[in-house]
Subunit: 574 residues, 2 copies
């Protein structure tokens, strides 16, 4: 059994190349050196099975105690599996010997993740818990390698799983240093958007900006943008509990475009040095904005949420509309817990908008983490039909609240009697201000007027503005011939879109009204909403499109840096 | 030719009863007493032609100079035509001898209108300019007669053409006195809704209320309602030009349900003794509310507008949706003039909402009778597509503004690039307050801060609330069998209705937001919107349904009389 042929191969090598794993099983019954023998190419049977993509052979070999730590021409068997993108084989090795996920090849000291050639392979390892930031002997991370190999899809997966965009590798280069020479603007944007510093020097004292200036004017311009994100002043990083006025944060709906809000919040947190949770006393959100409001409440970092959104979209927006709600619900339960109640965390006060659609006209419902203010007003309808009262905050599951606020019609099926909050308040600012006023009035009525804090700042964040486009036909009429019929069908479609867009437009009048209201009362009002170059759907899944939206967000922050600074100053003043 | 047969009929009588008008023409060539001869029943040939409904015979007889003032058994020929509801004949007489429309029959001294047996006959005379309030010898108006004859449709036509609901007829009875004995609640409601006094005594000292109390408890209760409309105090009827604060009136959209707004305004004007034009400094309206805002601006009385709405609906909502816009446009031109510009009348300041739908997202446009405040804000879209700027107020035709604000999709075809203002602001309050704030800010920027007047009162009038109904299915999903397909089609329809209703609901959150805003700023906010018993469509044409809505409005005013009194007091305080 230890006999080798002229290629240095044993019976095990042959069995692996054959079709029948039972042969291999029989061979492996007795311990034999041939099991781990390398052939003339330096491959053990296990290497060979990985290279050929035979997970069943891998399984049998491992059951026969084949060794995983024999060096082949490129590394251990796991590295072979990665090199040849044999997902099944790599998965088999990791599942049978979990330590292999961290095993570094002797030549480069690289982990399997360094060897990942595509998004799928990288994702498989990351989902199984490999260290995204492990370094090779030269000091490079998998992100360095993916950038050097110009693998945009790998770069995105690594970034969304938390790869450090500023890791210093060989010669002190960050991934951004390495990206400069690749002439891949998308990749450079992705790195900057995920927080890469443009002014970090390498061992030769060169910054990415400096390298860019040697390459092209365009790259040089790109580098400018991220400058606005720098902390403007030195800040106390603790929240002033003695704040005399309240701050309100409002987050629009918009599906995966919630990434724009995340990017804005990251910039605000970075510039202020304070977490959003401590900058605001009230957080209101609709749909995706509601999920982010809950993320703030539950102390999840926005950088983490950015990764979550990029990863989640591929799971949630799979197939066609309406999407299965299972993956979305699983995700919400995973992030917020299956049994967590709204009142489990009490600060800041959070409200999510939902549309109670078991009645006509539908009504706004707020999911709160505090008790609803009691109203002294007469009920809206004199003869009220028999409707079930909404769940109390103390009994309301967090994940259900998030799901109910984010049930965009035709994207997802409704959650029980709730439709997406965006139908009534895609921009929740007016309703949040109404709620806070009613909350304070209720305190006064209860003799607790001393607890009333007036609003001093309202920050309203949007999920990006689509470009304005001309519309030619919203005419719907009785057709008298086929050509007119076609026109009226087209008109009806345009009209339908227009009606929906009118009622869910979070910009436009919603913003004008909120601004006027705030100005009348003497509240500082800030609306931040980047203009996007293209119309991005709620269920966009293209990384390139989304990275570009985040890039445009960075450009917007740069262009509005003065307003931004004023906002930060006000948020931090006592 | 003057020969009569044993029935006392001449050749003319025979010719009229025949089929050929040429025979009559030949007979009439020479003057002859037979032309005006009465037969044994007391009928001239002209009477006979009217009775038989032969307009062509009438025409020929009149061309032969047949006399219109020969008394028949019931009156003159015109009265015969009315008695037998021969519209063509009556029309022919009036068109050939316009004085006949006023001719009173010798027996009762009644005008043709008194003789009208149905709505069509009455409408025909009223359109040709007969006096709606002319009295018979006994002192009764046509309305008295219609009530006595229990002709609800006639009553409605007379009231909508301005018949005095309080005219004192025989024995000092008003139509309401007479209605009591008819056990026709609809008619009693109609009279009260059109302003009949329940406490006016007849010659025997009996009031309608007194009579009602003798008949039934139900009638007695009905009588209570109209008491709330009485002036509460003695008032100066001139507007205080020195008012230090501004008052804003906001009028919702809702098609023919604008009648509810009219009824509310009539009550406000009656209780305050001041015309709406002088009570308010700003008037904002959407769609039907926009038309009424213009009516206020152009000093049209609300009682007049009530009649106009009742008359107009039958002309405008004819056929099926979308309706021809011709009649609506003709009506607007007739009421406001074909060439009147928005700035022709400057006080109060008026704004109508419209939806600029030549772009996506659509934008709110305000049709103003003053110059738009200049904005210092950055344009909403960075790369603006090439869009035609809206018409300036000084060039904007009033009728077009009304038409543009009131282009409810699927009811009417859009007017050029405008869709109904209700799409963005079916309740215009928030946008009116935004506009006034921006107007004042603009004054301050221009150094005219002394002209700024703060808002002190906002009155928001609705077109009636539909009852809340439960909704079972808004689920839209991919069907897998015919039963599911049916469910999803139903769901899609419900969903579409819900989306439209959500975005155009003038009550609910729109009101909560406006109230909170006003309370925060210290503005007195009044929302008046009666709960209706049924869901009334924008294009309802049934008089009974609409009278009932107005009745419910009266009940609402009665139930809210304290709030109402407070409003009046505040409106009149300097």
């Amino acid at each position: 059994m230890d006999v080798t042929d002229n290629k240095g191969e044993t019976a095990f090598h042959y069995a692996v190349q054959g079709d029948n794993s039972q042969v291999l099983q029989l061979l492996g019954k007795n311990a034999s050196a041939g099991l781990n023998q390398v052939n003339n190419q330096g491959l053990t049977p296990l290497h060979l099975a990985c290279q050929l993509g035979k997970p069943e052979m891998v399984r049998v070999l491992l059951l026969c105690n084949a060794r995983c730590n024999i060096m082949g021409p490129g590394g251990y068997p796991i590295h072979s599996a990665m090199k040849f993108s044999q997902k099944g084989c790599a998965e088999m090795i990791v599942s049978m010997d979990s330590s292999q996920i961290h095993s570094k090849d002797p030549r480069y000291g690289a982990s399997p993740l360094h060897w990942a050639k595509n998004a799928e392979m990288a994702r498989m390892l990351l989902k199984r818990g490999c260290d995204v930031n492990s370094t090779s002997s030269a000091g490079n991370t998998a992100l360095h390698v993916a950038v050097m190999r110009n693998r945009f899809d790998c770069v995105m997966v690594l970034l969304t799983y938390g790869a450090n965009a500023d890791a210093r590798g060989e010669h002190g280069n960050t991934p951004l240093h390495l990206a400069m020479s690749k002439d891949n603007v998308e990749m450079i944007k992705a790195l900057i958007v995920f927080g890469a510093e443009v002014d970090a020097p390498n061992d030769f004292g060169e910054t990415p900006t400096f390298i860019a200036s040697k390459i092209s004017k365009q790259l040089q311009d790109l580098m400018h943008i991220s400058r606005a994100r720098k902390p403007a002043f030195i800040l106390s990083s603790t929240r002033d509990e003695k704040r005399t006025h309240d701050h309100l944060l409002c987050l629009d709906g918009g599906g995966v475009k919630g990434l724009v809000i995340i990017q804005l919040l990251i910039a605000i947190e970075k510039a202020s040095g304070v977490a959003a949770k401590d900058l605001f006393d009230w957080v209101a959100g609709t749909s995706t904005g509601g999920i982010l409001a809950l993320a703030i409440l539950h102390s999840k970092s926005m950088a983490y949420m950015r990764g979550v959104y990029f990863r989640m979209k591929d799971e949630v927006f799979r197939g066609s509309r309406p999407y299965e709600s299972g993956p979305l619900e699983e995700f919400l339960k995973r992030e917020f817990g299956e049994h967590t109640k709204m009142t489990d965390v009490k600060k800041p006060k959070v409200m999510l908008t939902g549309t109670l659609s078991d009645r006509q006209p539908a009504e706004l419902h707020l999911f709160r983490n505090y008790d609803a203010p009691e109203s002294v007003r007469e009920p809206r309808f004199s003869q009220n039909i028999n409707l079930r009262p909404p769940t109390l905050p103390a009994d309301q599951l967090v994940w259900r609240a998030a799901r109910s606020s984010g049930a965009a019609p035709t994207y997802f099926r409704p959650n029980g009697r709730f439709l997406d909050g965006g139908l009534l308040a895609n921009n929740p600012t007016l309703d949040a201000m109404t709620e806070i006023h009613e909350y304070n009035q209720d305190l006064i009525r209860k003799g607790q007027g001393n607890k009333v804090k007036k609003l001093s700042i309202v920050v309203s964040l949007g999920t990006g503005r689509s470009p304005q486009v001309p519309v030619t036909c919203v005419d719907v009429f009785r057709p008298s011939n086929p050509w007119e019929l076609a026109k009226t069908v087209f008109g009806a479609k345009e009209l339908g879109k227009m009606v929906v867009d009118c009622c869910t437009d979070p910009d436009g009048r919603a913003v004008d009204r909120a601004r006027a209201w705030c100005e009348m009362v003497g509240i500082q009002y800030f609306r931040l909403n980047p203009q996007l170059g293209t119309d991005i759907m709620l269920d966009e899944v293209s990384d390139t499109v989304l990275v570009n939206a985040l890039w445009e967000t960075e450009v917007y922050i740069y262009e509005h840096r003065e307003e931004f600074q004023k906002l930060i100053q006000l948020l931090l003043s006592p």
